[in-house]
Amino acid sequence: MPVVELSYSRLQKLLGKISKKQISDSLPFLGLDIEYEDKDLIRVEYSPNRPDYSTDLGIALGLQGLFGIKSGAIKLNIRKSNDYAIHVDPSVTKIRPFVTGIIAKNGRIDDSIIKQLMAMQEDLHFGIGRKRKKSSVGIHDLDKISFPLTYTTSKRDHKFTPLNSEKEFTISEILNNTKVGLDYGAILVNSPQVPIILDSQKQTVSFPPIINAALTTVTTKTRNLFVEVTGINKNDAENMLSVVATILQTAGFALVATKISGAKNTSPKLEQKNISINSELINQILGLNLTGSQIIASLKKSRLDATLKGKNIVCGVPSYRFDIFGQMDLVEEVVLGYGIQNLVPILSPSQTLGQTNQISIKLKSLSLIMIGLGYTEALNSSLTSKRVLYEMTNREPKKMISVLDSKSQEHTILRDSILPGLLENLSRNIHTSYPQKVFETGTVFSQGNPIDETTNLAVISAHQEATFTEIKSILQSTLKTGFNLEAEMKTFSHPTFEEGRTASISVNGKIIGIIGEINSKIIENYKIRVPIVGFEISLFD
């Protein structure tokens, strides 16, 4: 979950007379989990579906609703203008077809706003931008740019001075020699032409989705902004733009429209959409009996517009709330506005009778048998390592099932046997008193169609007098008591076990497992000083 850093004092400035405690008590009811708190600083986790919460400005809008300071949807006041045109060249169609943008004027920019905007940009890129692949945003100093702009493509030898640099680079140099180039260059595949935004003076404004030009760097002296979003999908690009526009308007900027044309591109509208919902559905889902006006008040607290039309409620959803797909999303907005703390849990009688799964019941009975025989239950991961599964037990790896890119070396392969894990366990208990008698039931995996999962039982006994006879008796009693089965044992060879003291276990002519004395080399490898005997069988086949 993404994290945003807030300051109580800045929030209080945005909200008015609200105490620190009121703020910290209310944040969770916007879905924001407080992760860390120190004096004025709070770090909260927000859900990726609410990119407007990536800044304190967006969070302030939500809190205003909860505290009743302001209610209803935030309306974007976008002044129409013909001054800011962007023409799209058809050459971008195959590589990054869409651009959109907005002008934000007469704002005051200080360091904390710059910090919030940069954090927002990062989060937008990572989340809804899908690491800039789907869409990416650039924020520029408007006064350094002369309109109209062109969104076009250029060759890789095109040169400009990128952000945070003092000298010119070619596109190829940026892609091959800078961190952002290496991180995001793959989005452009190997296209010889790359997207570029040029102004009327042929100055480079941006090389999306990689980097802006140094020319348009935003500083505390900047008063007017130009925001552009490029992407592979018009809707998603406009969604991202609407978040930035809403935040900038909240920060005090006046919005002015851009005029976009060419190659299936059009000017963004950033309009509210209306969704209609039946109030009975809301009450039915929530288990409440709210009146139309209660529902409307709740929706408004959640910063949406709502009007009653007969039994239906028409809800106005601002463009930055693209997390709202349909009616059920509005039900959630109602309950957030109403207050989850005001919802009283009820326990209705069950219409159904519960039942434990047959396999669970059998496994429970089996574990009780093992306890009765004096064996303690162990639990190991089914995702384990080559070392434990094969190397330490001399087993031959065949058709291993491994996971990709595991962050832990000890968890890379799905087990095909439980016994190796139990041996590993004993090696970590050599200073604990003997006898050590342990069992485990669990799933083992093998390649099939595409993967077969079966349940196994593995049992081991380690102590000075451990013998084949002992473990064979245990196996015999387990099968007899648990399943009324008698097994047949035949001499067998297996690298984990001692030659001449190993047998296959068959029931009704089918091999279900293996039993024997553990190979003394393996015991030695594990630095265990007592003999070990054990068996493993497949259950329920």
Binding site: S47, V331, I340, L353, T356, L373, K407, Q436
Partner: protein
């Protein structure tokens, strides 16, 4: 005072009541117990403060080789004067008669002026009736007697003669009863009593794993709340783990760094053609991207058990039902005290035309109540496949803070509709290890899978 006494103790006490002060040897005789039994009995009684043991020292006297000869034949000087009693005798004659004792005897007789010597003729002047030492010799004879019984003056006259008197120093232990013991009534019965207060060795009980106990407890709670358990595979096609749950194919949660993909393994059959078509349509319409069936075929280790539930719902389309699924789930995480790559999750659903969010909250509250958690609250949260979505926070007294437990919500229509599920589905779920950690007071979740026998053998079972 009531005391359980061992048979040995009883015999010793009984004997001492008759004969208040006895040595161990005397007790052996009076009780017919063995030396070892007497020794142990004395120790027990001493510990229980029922008897005191006093130690004393005594000296006994017996005769040495020369002493014994004198006892039988008389002292050398006695034998000399006896020879001279009736007549004078020649020196040579006496020498021959007395042998080696002639010298000392004649010396003593001269010193005491009992005889006269002229030429080689010896004549007795006085015949003493009793000589010093004779009384003592007679008293000791062939026995051992305590030194304090003899006349010390008489003894000293022969004490220094070589090999005459042997002195033995003897230490004696004597046992007697304390006042406490005097009041004890020795009765029959409780004859097999042992020392019940002493320490005994530990026996380790074979037992189920503590985490399994928690799992069983949780399973039972949901069964009694009317839920039926369903079981499904841990390896799943992405289709059921993600696509069916409205998680777009480019969603960050689906990346390698969060989810375990199985190297080179794809499922041929992932669902019915209608299921695949409708789910792909829902993704295209709502998320606007190219939905790739090959992405949906990729096998993953399930990241939640919800995939099992949704598949079951899609196959059965019940109008009224309560299911739960319980088992291992996987996340590609760095293992730490609070994260495992593999852990247990319970996840359940209520299907019904009248199922409401308040019912969902009520089931959670009832579950927590049954595992002993009463301080709970609900917060909003986000899951891609539920709307509204809530999470439970429970207050933990030991940690003195609110801890996040189960998440819950109502399945989105974008999830249920393509699969033909028409009634509302309340869903909830969460990790079991976290509950078990609270129960067993653990701060490191890895403890559950380390199989440390000392820990497994020591966890309190009935809690």
């Amino acid at each position: 005072m009531s005391q359980v006494l061992h048979e040995i103790e009883k015999k010793i006490i009984t004997s001492l009541k008759v004969n208040p002060k006895q040595t161990p040897e005397q007790l052996e005789k009076s009780t017919s117990l063995s030396t070892d039994q007497i020794r142990r009995g004395m120790e027990w009684l001493k510990l229980k403060e029922l008897a005191i043991v006093s130690e004393s020292q005594s000296i006994t006297l017996s005769l040495g080789k020369n002493g014994l000869e004198s006892f039988h034949k008389g002292l050398p000087e006695r034998r000399l004067i006896d020879l001279l009693k009736n007549e004078s005798k020649k020196l040579q004659h006496l020498q021959k008669e007395l042998g080696s004792v002639f010298g000392p005897a004649i010396g003593l007789a001269r010193k005491n002026n009992w005889i006269d010597t002229s030429e080689d003729e010896i004549t007795l002047k006085i015949y003493p009736s009793e000589l010093p030492g004779e009384k003592t010799l007679k008293q000791i004879g062939e026995n051992k007697i305590p030194k304090n019984e003899v006349d010390i003056a008489d003894l000293s006259s022969i004490m220094k003669r070589p090999d005459f008197i042997i002195e033995d120093i003897i230490k004696t232990r004597e046992i007697s009863l304390t006042e406490n013991a005097e009041s004890i009534e020795i009765t029959a019965g409780s004859s097999n009593a042992i020392n019940v207060e002493s320490k005994v060795p530990d026996v380790f009980v074979a037992r189920t794993h503590p985490l399994k106990d928690t799992i069983d407890e949780i399973r039972e709670i949901f069964v009694t709340l009317g839920f039926t358990e369903i079981i499904g595979n841990m390896t799943q096609p992405s289709f059921w783990n993600f696509d069916a749950l409205f998680t777009p194919q480019d969603h960050p949660a689906r990346e390698l760094q969060d989810t375990f993909y199985l190297d080179g393994l794809s499922a041929k059959k992932i669902g019915t053609s209608e299921q695949i078509r409708k789910i792909s349509e829902s993704h295209k319409k709502n998320w606007r991207y190219y939905w790739d069936i090959n992405e949906a075929r990729k096998m993953v280790l399930r990241t939640h058990t919800t995939c099992v539930t949704i598949k079951h719902l899609a196959e059965n389309k019940p109008d009224e039902a309560r299911f739960f699924s319980l088992g291992r789930v996987f996340r590609n995480e760095k293992v730490s005290y609070k994260h495992l790559v593999e852990f247990n999750q319970i996840e359940g659903v209520v299907v019904g035309k009248n199922a409401t969010l308040r019912d969902l909250m009520g089931i959670q509250r009832e579950f927590y109540r049954r595992i002993g958690i009463t301080k709970i609250k609900f917060w909003p949260t986000f899951f891609p496949y539920t709307e509204p979505s809530l999470q439970t926070m429970v207050y933990n007294d030991r940690l003195e803070k609110w801890v996040e437990l189960f998440g819950m919500g109502i399945f989105r229509p974008e999830v249920t509709k393509p699969l033909g599920i028409t009634k509302p589905v309340l869903a909830w779920g969460g990790g079991i290890e976290r509950i078990a950690m609270l129960k067993y007071g653990l701060d490191d979740v890895r403890e559950f899978y380390s199989n440390n026998l000392s820990w497994l053998r020591s966890v309190t079972k009935c809690q």
